[in-house]
Symmetry: C2
């Protein structure tokens, strides 16, 4: 038993979709969330910069005495999870990418899998690499979709513009007859309905957060780290508290009242 919290972080608010799944599935687990709203987005930035920012966040989370860390950001996960595990060998670090891969492999029938994400996630090549390791005869087709995050943050979830953008981005993947599409960015589940309309019912959409929460639950049991206490949730950001409070409802399903701001550059 270990009643310390799990640390979950993202470049901004998107990681709250992962928080939501962890809350749902691991009801006793306390969570400390950090969103790097002063430096968001990471998706257009270099591996060097993303690694540096993430290491600062992990130092902050370790100072809060977390027992495990979930990288709720595909960009960080696909660019530098190995480097971060090397830098911080004494804490469990899990991400969303491996869970997304596992779900997609279970879901596909024709072994044609699509992956969408930020520019940095797609150019890292991490998803295709992991999918091919587990399913050698698969074909993986990728597409970066830089407009989806600003569309979600604008709240245009069911807007004609969002469907038009999705059509343009997803056309090349649909032409390849994919039957499974990994939502490789934590913002994308928020526009899942619009995306499903565009790809049609025969394409399965994969939200890695679901399996991530399940996998972390298994890990906690395996290492005897699960909590038997009442869960407590704390939210930290590096900028605007109000903005995150407003967005929380969309990502988490309910508003957050207590959000604290810290100076992440000091870590």
């Amino acid at each position: 038993m270990d009643n310390r919290p799990i640390g979950i972080f993202d470049s901004g608010v998107g990681g709250l979709t992962v928080v939501k799944e962890v809350m749902n599935q691991l009801k006793n687990e306390s969570i400390i969330y950090f969103g790097d709203t002063a430096r968001v987005p990471y998706g257009s930035k270099s591996k060097h910069t993303v690694t540096k920012f993430s290491a600062q966040i992990i130092r902050f989370l370790l100072e809060q005495d977390v027992k495990a860390i979930i990288i709720a950001c595909n960009t960080v996960n696909s660019n530098c999870i190995d480097e971060l595990r090397e830098l911080f060998p004494n804490v469990l670090i899990e991400g969303v990418v491996e869970s997304g891969v596992k779900m997609a492999i279970d879901a596909t029938s024709n072994n044609k899998i699509g992956v969408i994400g930020t520019e940095a996630t797609i150019s890292s090549g991490k998803y295709p690499e992991l999918i091919k390791q587990s399913l050698a005869n698969s074909e993986v087709f990728v597409k970066s979709c830089p407009l989806f995050v600003p569309l979600v943050e604008e709240g245009w979830l069911h807007h004609e513009v969002t469907r038009l953008v999705a059509k343009e981005y997803l056309e090349s993947l649909l032409n390849k007859q994919i039957d499974t599409l990994i939502l490789g960015c934590t913002h994308y589940p928020i526009i899942q309905d619009s995306l499903q309309q565009v790809v049609g019912e025969h394409v399965k959409l994969i939200n890695p957060a679901d399996e991530t929460a399940r996998f972390v639950g298994t890990l906690l049991i395996k290492h005897n780290l699960q909590s038997n206490n009442k869960a407590n949730y704390e939210f930290f950001v590096s900028d605007h508290v109000r903005q995150v409070q407003q967005m929380a409802e969309m990502f988490l399903g309910y508003p957050i009242h207590q959000v604290k701001k810290i100076e992440i550059e000091k870590y």
Copy 2:
């Protein structure tokens, strides 16, 4: 005479539209440009964070021995130019906002002026404040347009989606019968054609960069700081060199080959 360079900075690549005007109008002036591509965008961030990032950039530019600084970023300009002038009293600091205001006042016939920009620029209230100081009986209508920057950076300059987004954003301003619209973000001149189609020929679009370059030219003469040398241009960023090289053509009209990366957080 003073052959030292002018420092020009922006949160990213948008400020290159200002560089272009300075190059055109002040042909002997050398330029050192800095784009904060590791922490872009500023438009959704708080005044505190934008001020801190900008002060770091000015320290870097002063280390390069610039004789004057142009803030080629409406967000910085409208949130903290006064604070920055107080922090750095020994260097001329000029921005784009006052020039935009001057142009709009000259251009309007019915005294109904629209302003579009990032969330942080619009919520600062700086444009309306300055317009009303000079033209008391004017009416100013504002609208933040957070999707324009990502649309420009995606290169969708003449895309149906861009026009649809513009229609939605600008409808409320057009309903107020504005005859002049300030493009209060350095990215927006890049989609000027699409915006003009949406607002119609009777609405004048104001690109503050034009007057900014003219005004800085006058200031240099007034303070006897103008250069009589051949101009030299240097470009610095805080992340991805390649990305800026690719985007330069769109903003500047020609590619940049030499871009240097620095660690801006050290300043």
